[in-house]
């Protein structure tokens, strides 16, 4: 009976417009923030940080980014891995070139650079649509990876082409390098995630978001009612790539600490993030988190249950992980084609009517 909007009257458009119109959601959200910032940092350990939370948060950023492009603007892209690589290498070059500047700045600039690259590769989207565009963005994927592998300047002429993140700190606390505390890694990612989610939410609920969605739903009509398709699509590519670039930078600096472009940012990354977007739900910020959680946590969970719990041989359980993940994806789609976010929404609808379904 808690979950009601009745009696929760809106007296202004701003109120009517807020992210969580329902009181209960609002409080749940505040509670989540309090826990995320106030509790988790004190109980987190290396395993939880490195195996679960940090990758989850980083992928959440990437997923939000890609979701803006695919879910809101309807432009299918498979260049994510390449764009993450841009973010990673940009941050690496910046960190090594200007050690005195704060890493936060570096990561933001890396995002900016990625945005520029994204815009460049977004240009064909004016002529190319749908799956054709998706495949076209693979050109970006493969070219960028090749480039970072080929040109030694990008990896400071190291013998092997590996880049490793030097030690950097924020407010005197290490966030990269060998001697980094779990909570510090977690916090910097969390801050970025919250900021990105907040920006994304604002953009998508306002004029920009409507332009994107108009293009997504019917580009011709959108143009005729006054949306400039070039601008709309390119801004989507820019914003999306900005987030993805940040994700790439964090993935390299905070999470992996060392990266090899082909392995860390290969085509499989592009698909992974795409899966996250679609499983989570197109055009939903919450969905982005859900999708990232699903794809990051599920394998770890399965591994721990199958190997840790049931003492299966690692290979058998690894194969089973694939089988189960695949089956679950299909099951979800049959159950609810529009992703976890929609599933969640439906559940809430039910809850709102409960206990009187009619």
């Amino acid at each position: 009976m808690l979950y009601r909007e009745a009696g929760d009257f809106k007296t202004s458009y701003a109120e009517d417009n807020q992210t969580f119109p329902i009181k209960f959601d609002r409080y749940a959200y505040y509670l989540l923030l309090v826990v995320a910032f106030g509790v988790v940092p004190f109980i987190i350990n290396d395993y939880w940080a490195n195996a679960v939370l940090v990758p989850f948060l980083i992928y959440a950023i990437a997923t939000i980014g890609l979701n803006i492009l695919i879910g809101y603007c309807g432009q299918l892209s498979l260049g994510t891995g390449g764009f993450m690589a841009v973010g990673a290498f940009a941050s690496y070059k910046l960190m090594t070139a200007f050690p005195e500047v704060s890493i936060i700045i570096h990561i933001l600039i890396a995002g900016g650079i990625t945005a520029a690259v994204g815009v460049a590769f977004g240009l064909p989207s004016l002529r190319i649509k749908g799956f054709y565009l998706a495949v076209a963005t693979l050109a970006a994927q493969f070219f960028l990876v090749w480039l970072f592998n080929r040109v030694p300047w990008f990896y400071n002429y190291s013998a092997s082409g590996q880049i490793s993140a030097p030690e950097r700190s924020v407010l005197g606390v290490n966030v990269t390098g060998p001697n980094v505390e779990a909570w510090a890694q977690y916090m910097i990612c969390l801050v970025f995630v919250v900021a990105c989610a907040w920006l994304a939410r604002n953009l998508t609920r306002g004029a920009t978001g409507r332009k994107w969605m108009a293009i997504r739903d019917m580009d011709i009509a959108a143009e005729i009612i006054g949306v400039n398709p070039l601008k709309a699509k390119l801004t989507a590519f820019a914003v999306s790539s900005f987030f993805i670039g940040i994700a790439g930078a964090l993935l390299f600096t905070v999470y992996l600490g060392a990266a090899e472009v082909g392995e860390a940012f290969g085509i499989q990354k592009s698909f992974l993030v795409l899966f996250m977007v679609i499983i989570g739900g197109l055009g939903s910020i919450f969905g982005s988190f859900a999708g990232a959680a699903f794809m990051v946590l599920l394998p770890v969970l399965l591994k721990n249950v199958l190997v840790g719990g049931m003492n299966w041989p690692t290979d058998v359980s690894a194969h089973f992980q694939f089988v189960i993940v695949g089956a679950l994806i299909i099951a979800f789609l049959i159950l609810e084609p529009h992703g976890l976010a929609q599933l969640w929404r439906v559940a809430k609808e039910k809850l709102r009517l409960w206990p009187f379904p009619h």
């Binding site: 306002g206 011709i220 143009e223 005729i224 949306v227």
Partner: protein, 276 residues
């Protein structure tokens, strides 16, 4: 027949006593071809400020093509388009919209993934000016702008009597309502010139009456200039001040409904043959 060179005509008074202003838009000798096919052949006509101008003709007469020329979706091979007393250079549709020309579509072109409210809000896009950065920050400028435009949109929602479906996704709405929402989206732009592409197509009698009422109300409450297309003459003759009649891409009549109905050519070409 229309040999006006520059558009400084005085207005006129309609028989129901409304004062119509001077020319707001003028089409001069428009010719539009698709490959070999001639869709529009050397057509000229004008639209006066504040009037309801109808373009009628049987299916395939080139009406929609004409509308698409006005809204910049097609670019005629010959002829000139004058708007607000200036010759219009070839423009992209969104630039035309920026000039204050809004329209609806024959087969509804709403944004299926969005709610009624958001759809109508898209009509305001040409008028929302805050930069992306301040939108990303939201607090202050963007929020304020959002709110004032929302207020405007709510007026339109009230005017069209669709408050109940504010938050419903348009995909789920019945046809008639969708048409109404689309009209709302066009109105939200507060256009100088409103183009309606068969606003009553596929409607039953009372839906048609509702729609006609809305069109008339729009015209005299907001004083919006309206150009509409219909192939069903009945309604059109009641609501429009002047009518252009097209057939096979040619203009065969132009004038008040009465004049047009008296025009023999029209009677032969249009009324003579039976249309739905």
């Amino acid at each position: 027949m229309n040999t006006m060179t520059e558009n400084t005509t005085v207005g006129y008074v309609t028989d129901d006593g409304r004062q119509i202003g001077g020319t707001i838009m003028e089409m001069k000798n428009i010719t539009l071809r698709f490959g070999g096919v001639v869709a529009i052949e050397d057509i000229s006509f004008d639209i006066h400020e504040g009037e309801i101008r109808a373009i009628i003709g049987p299916n395939g007469a080139g009406k929609s093509s004409m509308l698409n020329v006005i809204s910049g979706f097609y670019h005629p091979q010959e002829g000139e388009v004058w708007f607000n007393g200036a010759k219009r250079p070839p423009m992209k549709p969104f630039e035309v919209a920026g000039q204050g020309i809004a329209r609806t579509f024959q087969n509804i072109a709403l944004f299926k993934g969005m709610t009624t409210l958001d759809n109508i809000m898209t009509g305001r896009l040409t008028r929302m000016k805050t930069g992306m950065l301040s939108q990303a920050i939201w607090w202050g400028k963007a929020a304020r702008e959002e709110e004032e435009h929302r207020r405007k949109v709510e007026e339109i929602i009230d005017f069209l009597e669709i408050q109940a479906i504010r938050k419903t996704s348009v995909g789920r709405l019945p046809y008639g309502l969708q048409k109404r929402v689309e009209l709302g989206r066009a109105l939200a732009a507060e256009p100088k010139l409103l183009l309606l592409d068969e606003p009553m197509a596929g409607m039953n009698v009372e839906e048609k009456e509702d729609m006609s009422r809305f069109i008339l109300d729009v015209n005299d409450e907001f004083g919006t200039t309206i150009a509409l297309i219909e192939h069903d003459m009945g309604v059109v003759m009641d609501i429009s001040d002047r009518v252009v009649v097209m057939d096979y891409g040619k203009k065969i009549g132009d004038g008040t409904p009465a004049e047009v109905l008296a025009n023999q050519e029209v009677i032969d070409a249009y009324l003579g043959v039976s249309h739905d």
